[in-house]
């Protein structure tokens, strides 16, 4: 008794082609929202603010937003690379402060060149140490950079006499030119973000970051220099943080010691709001830029309208915002996972 049942079907040509199913609309939409949601929300908020909040759209206000956040944006830039590679760097806030103190000190003792090279060099070195602890000693980035946060702040306080000495950049120093005015900070940030985009999208290093964050085991099997890349990304993040701190010192004309606390958290928030996945493997620099600006605009608006609550109100809003964004992001990536 035959119990074999099949459906008849036309023969396939030998060597025929496989055509993958066409882009489903859902896939395209969720991809768009995920990758450019941050920019979209920023655009909406800016438009609403321009119409609804008096004085928002004035050049003076926009300028102060851009200039005020140009250097902390560099922290988010470095953080983007780290998070895409699947890691995290909690030490950038402390390195920002350290960079400022070193720069001020350097400008007094060594001149403008030293004022820039010293902080960048030291931060790069610390980043390298963290990178090696993560790759060689195989410790978790969260813990290593958490220790970095503590240790670097301690280091900064040690060289500034427990934070009591605020080194002032000499009046005549050429170092002051790096961060003065409004164009220089903005252009510095724009140029660095531009270079960052090129590095991320068009170099093997950048592609390796995506691969390592997307699937570390696959990256290893595909022959990528995984450990070297992972360590290097912390050098990059540290250098940018140190540079940002140095430029900020140039702008403030001194190495302020109680600065930078919590900056790493804002950087992380900006990166995530910009669409980079915390788990790694996907993200963009433009998204981060949108995230930075979005947080800055919110803070600006709150500063104007809810000024009696001060920065804590913007904290509360940022917190809620971050929560919403992350929930949406997770929901979207779950949608995308369905074939």
């Amino acid at each position: 008794m035959s119990s074999v049942t099949t459906q008849p079907q036309a023969a396939e040509p030998f060597g025929g082609t496989t055509v993958a199913a066409s882009d489903s609309r859902k896939e395209r939409v969720t991809g768009l929202v995920q990758n450019h949601g941050g920019e979209a929300v920023l655009a909406v908020v800016v438009v609403v603010a321009s119409l609804g909040s008096q004085g928002f759209a004035s050049w003076g206000n926009i300028e102060s937003i851009l200039v005020g956040n140009a250097y902390t944006a560099l922290l988010a830039l470095g953080m983007t690379f780290v998070i895409i590679s699947g890691g995290i760097d909690l030490s950038v806030g402390s390195m920002f402060a350290l960079g400022g103190v070193l720069a001020a000190r350097g400008s007094i003792d060594g001149g403008p060149v030293v004022a820039i090279l010293l902080p960048v060099g030291v931060s790069a070195l610390i980043g390298l140490v963290q990178g090696l602890l993560i790759t060689r000693a195989r410790m978790e980035p969260f813990i290593v950079t958490l220790a970095g946060l503590l240790g670097v702040r301690g280091l900064m306080q040690a060289i500034s006499k427990e934070g009591s000495s605020t080194y002032l950049v000499p009046q005549h120093s050429a170092f002051l030119n790096f961060g003065s005015g409004s164009w220089r900070p903005i252009m510095t940030a724009v140029v660095l973000f531009g270079i960052g985009t090129i590095v991320l999208q068009r170099t093997r290093f950048g592609q390796a970051l995506f691969a390592i964050g997307g699937s570390r085991s696959a990256a290893v099997l595909m022959g990528l220099p995984v450990q070297r890349t992972r360590a290097l990304v912390y050098v990059l993040s540290g250098s940018l943080a140190g540079l940002a701190g140095a430029l900020n010192a140039s702008r403030l004309q001194s190495g302020v010691t109680n600065i930078g606390v919590g900056y790493e958290l804002t950087a992380i928030a900006a990166v995530i709001i910009g669409g980079t996945l915390l788990t790694g493997g996907a993200g963009s620099i433009t998204g981060t830029a949108a995230g930075v600006l979005l947080l800055a605009v919110i803070q600006n608006l709150i500063g104007v309208h809810l000024s009696k609550y001060g920065s804590s109100a913007s904290d509360a809003v940022n917190g809620a915002f971050l929560a919403i964004v992350v929930i949406v992001q997770t929901y979207l990536s779950r949608l995308q996972r369905l074939p």
Binding site: M1, S2, S3, V4, T5, T6, Q7, P8, Q9, E12, P13, F14, G15, G16, T17, T18, V19, A20, A21, S22, D23, S24, E27, I198, Q201, R202, T203, R204, Q207, A208, F210, A211, G214, S215, S217, A218, A219, V220, L221, M222, G223, L224, P225, G281, A282, L338, P339
Partner: protein, 510 residues
């Protein structure tokens, strides 16, 4: 002719097991050399030693005549050994083009030339019969297409040796033909190929020589395929007499079940967009129903949907006459339908917990009063199952992560058995475990069926599926395309149904 790759008495040990015991293997340029053996025989370990993932504890590996010790896959690749893995080891989130050229991207003025990369990718993939938008993320492609991308990547590298580990497990018939064409081209160019597979038909079609492994030892090295009788090959793999294999079959199954009564599992109209289309089946007490199909056909999804681990758009599941209303694993367990998952590392064992804790995990609600676990009841169950399933562990407190694959699988089996289920769904129950444990597990499945459980068996090993099941349902792309019963359950018939079913076609966008 000088060997391009030679493995000389290599030993590789892991805690508790000798994976490779003085294994020797030789590969000549321009040959296709089959590497066969059951799960746990050591094939994967041998490949990992050859490609730099593992370092040998003793012995030597020689490449082009010179001793080498690759310390990473990257080093092996640079030397010219390229590997295609059974699981697609590419980056799902990145685009097809980027995956194809990762770490080898075409550059202009030092920067990656994205346009040229995409153009080249389109051209290369078309040769492999894949015509897609190469800017899409890799994971948006079907498994077969993904594997073709992996294959294309592997052969692009200037390689002298290409190792293919179960390359056809996700491929359609015409994709397999394409692969064979590629292999012939490689062979003509003097490139040596190591072909690992347990699909004997393919091996006889394309391979020149074969090396057979069993339990970490080479039992037949570099044998000429042409003169080798198929039955003899199988008996070498299993370590059993040729006559024995012919008479009793390849597995330890003795599918002589008494089946009677109303179905203990009744599944109707399971549907989930893009994955399952109106799947229905019945299982009666004492019956073993097999689910056959290629990778990606929806077998695991069906099982998961039945036990509530996968959401459904529509469909009903009835256990012992009672409809399971809530779609959750807890509800399914309560109703009496449980599942042994395919990936025991990801979804099965809790590695840092003890054998004891792993076994009682699902039964915790039944073993505790007011939220406190009753130690006595727990120990009773644990001791019983350790004995019955012959779980080899230093003590019930040993961490499950330290046990061998076979024993881990037994622990998982115990976890489900101590719930006294009515229906047991098994997804690849003997994957990745050694021959001895495999036979034991197959024997236990028979016992369970004899005790009146309804069993759903999913297995990629055709002989296991055929010999263990009373009936086989064949799935393809989430549809039931065939049904074999009684004497018609055979490997030939199964493959015929698979080949003749409706093609993959374009997704019906509903």
């Amino acid at each position: 002719m000088e060997n391009v790759l030679e493995v000389d008495h290599v030993v590789k040990r892991f805690p508790g097991v000798v994976a490779l015991d003085r294994v020797s293997f030789s590969l000549q340029p321009g040959e296709v050399h089959a590497l066969v053996g059951e799960n746990g025989a050591g094939k994967s370990t041998l490949i990992k030693v050859m490609t730099g993932v593992y370092k040998a504890d003793a012995g030597e590996v020689r490449y082009a005549g010179k001793p080498v010790a690759f310390d990473s896959p990257s080093a092996a690749q640079q030397a010219g050994i390229s590997t295609i893995y059974q699981e697609v080891n590419l980056v799902p989130l990145m685009s097809v083009a980027r995956n194809l050229y990762l770490n080898r991207e075409p550059r202009r003025f030092g920067l990656i030339d994205s346009r040229r990369m995409r153009q080249q990718a389109r051209g290369v993939l078309r040769q492999f019969g894949v015509d897609v938008n190469v800017s899409r993320p890799l994971r948006s492609l079907g498994l077969g297409a993904q594997q073709m991308v992996a294959i294309a990547r592997a052969v692009q590298i200037d390689a002298r040796v290409v190792i293919m580990d179960e390359p056809t497990s996700s491929l359609e018939k015409r994709e397999v033909e394409t692969l064979f064409r590629v292999i012939k081209q490689l062979r003509e160019a003097g490139i040596a190929i190591v072909y690992v597979s347990h699909r004997l038909d393919e091996l006889y079609k394309i391979c020149d020589r074969v090396t057979v492994m069993r339990d970490g030892v080479v039992v037949g090295g570099g044998l000429d395929m042409r003169g080798l009788d198929r039955l003899r090959l199988v008996s070498m793999m299993l370590g059993r007499d040729v006559v024995d294999v012919k008479r009793h079959g390849v597995t330890a199954f003795d599918a002589d079940h008494e089946i009677e009564g109303e179905p203990v599992l009744r599944v109707r109209g399971l549907t989930r967009r893009h994955q399952l289309h109106n799947i229905s089946l019945d299982i009666r007490p004492g019956e073993v129903v097999g689910l056959g199909g290629l990778l990606g056909s929806g077998r695991s999804e069906t099982a998961r949907a039945i036990v509530g681990a996968l959401g459904l758009d529509s469909g009903t599941v009835e256990v012992d006459g009672a409809v399971v209303r809530r779609r959750s694993t807890a509800a399914s367990i309560k109703a009496g339908a449980v599942m042994l998952p395919e990936d025991r590392k990801a979804e099965g064992i809790i590695p840092n917990l003890s054998v004891r804790e792993n076994i009682v995990l699902a039964a915790l609600p039944r073993l505790s009063k007011f939220g406190l676990v009753s130690r006595a009841k727990q120990d009773e169950i644990v001791d019983f199952f350790i004995k019955r399933l012959r779980i080899k562990a230093s003590s019930p407190d040993q961490h499950v992560g330290e046990l061998s694959g076979g024993n881990q699988q037994k622990v998982l089996l115990a976890r489900w058995m101590c719930l006294h289920p009515k229906v047991l769904l098994l997804d690849e129950p003997t994957r990745g475990i050694d021959v001895g444990a495999k036979a034991e597990v197959q024997g236990h499945i028979d016992d369970l069926a004899r005790e009146g459980l309804g069993v759903l068996l999913i297995s990629s090993e055709l002989d296991e599926l055929v010999e263990g099941s009373d009936r086989v349902l064949v799935l393809k792309d989430g549809h039931v395309i065939g049904h074999l019963a009684g004497d018609d359950v055979s490997e030939e018939n199964l493959m015929e149904v698979l080949a003749a079913g409706p093609g993959a076609g374009d997704d019906i966008d509903d």
